[in-house]
Amino acid sequence: MSESKWNRGVAVVGVGLSKFGAFKEKNSRDLFVEAYLDLINSMHRYDPKKVEAFYLGNFSSDQFEKQAHLAPILASWVGLSPIPTVRIEDACASGGVAIRQAALAIASGQYDVVLVGGVEKMTDLEIAAVTEALATAADTQFEVPAGFTFPGFYAAMASAYMHEYNAQRDAFYHVSIKNHSNGALNDKAQFGQTIRSIMESKKARAAQKGRPVPEWEDEIDFLSDPKGNPMIAWPMTLFDCSPVSDGAAVALLVSEDLASTFTDTPIYLVGSGQASDGALPERETLSSIPAAEEAGRQAYHMANLSPKDIDLAEVHDCFTIAEIIATEDLGFFERGAGWQAAIEGKTARKGDHPVNTSGGLKSKGHPVGATGVGQVAEIWKQLNGIAGERQVPGDPKIGLTHNVGGTGQTCVVNIFERRDLNG
């Protein structure tokens, strides 16, 4: 039995993604159109005139493109005016929160059909300006003046985690290697190469230029070498960090009773949770993200499911430590056991708890506002068995998305279920 308080259920009936990457020629609206066309082209029964509202997850087009008030512009650009449009901003969790707010609006009875979008166009700015913009997701009055950068926050959490659980730094590298190996099978990914192929091409380039060829034995050896993988904020290296990205994602949400009129393969939003927190110093612990645990607890309760029921999860690996903590916050592993599980391959595509089959933020890219919506797109594909080469085996039925804003000031967890037609 579901524990949902919602007036009615909500289903996802279609998704769309732009390519993630760095696209000089495209602005937010162009990326959004690309994702929207991907949705249209993948649905047989899409009728845009049925869309009643548009919810947009966007972190800061204000800062990246000097364009606020983006929601009505995007709706207008694809002909959806005058439907109500709302921009949701909860930093890196903007997309996941937009999914939840759209679902609540459907559950209220106000709308039957809602388009959710997520977009971020980050690569127009210089990297220093991007860094400054990302820092605005933290507390710029009290945390940033201490000297923190965004990688720095997660690095400090990593220091607390390593200290508390005696974790080995290699665990982080294993997350990176695994996510790149998944992303290599995702044609939308920004860095669709395995770490091994990145390593090999660095060797080849050195050879070509007549420089000494680095003697990296394997990926761990490569990632452990500051010449291959420079330190950003100890203990987080370059390959522990997700990239700066452009990209967009869309999902079409409808009331449960209408799902079958849009698609034969809906997935249902059976659990949703959201929580907030103060800055790092306001928290009881720094080796976990309390708001993520709370959001997960709410989502499991609403879905009447437990962590062992989750067939796969897309989690917010803005940094490798974040994925390890996420797998504990979500209850896939005991506290302090996540790093060992990562080393043992338990979160690999064919492991016990597949995590980030899309490549995650690390390899697929992290266009901030698009990330949470893009996670739903991956769950849609996996639950419907259309994820191609990266398909999780065993006919997965239940998938989870975990989207974190800032360092955990906002967390949202959504759980989706495929129901067999005869089920």
Partner: protein, 138 residues
């Protein structure tokens, strides 16, 4: 502490005179830093500003090689990295600050649990000089 208000900027005004201020709940006794008008424990609005000792313990840290703009302007870079951390004050609350006088060339050598004492740091050059919170080992 009547000279400081609950307005958040006053935390830095206090720092300019080397004072670390917080607030104390007259209802439930909770201490928080920075100072604020609502108590986060009992949610009441009966708080007063108090001065803290500035003594604490290192809870978490990082050594940053790719600095923020402010820290780059202060001269830090990959060859001159800096340490920043979260400190648990002896009075209970936690706060972030730059950690001085630790061996940033050996991040592994920096110990969580190190006893620290507050200091103030000026950054921003003559024109925009502001006072920031830092800590150093006792």
């Amino acid at each position: 502490m009547a000279e400081f208000s609950m307005n958040s900027k006053d935390f830095f005004t206090a720092l300019e005179t080397d004072q670390l201020i917080g607030s104390h709940c007259l209802d439930c006794g909770a201490m928080v830093v920075p100072q604020r008008g609502i108590c986060p424990r009992c949610l009441g609005s009966n708080t007063e500003i108090v001065s803290l000792s500035g003594k604490g313990t290192l809870l978490a840290f990082t050594v940053i090689y790719v600095p923020s703009l402010m820290m780059a302007q202060a001269g830090y870079d990959a060859k001159n990295p800096y340490c920043v951390g979260v400190v648990k004050l002896d009075e209970g609350p936690k706060i972030s600050g730059q950690i001085l006088d630790v061996d940033v060339s050996q991040p592994e050598s920096i110990q969580i649990g190190t006893k620290l004492i507050m200091t103030t740091i000026k950054r921003g050059g003559e024109e925009n000089e502001k006072t920031y919170l830092g800590f150093r080992p006792v």
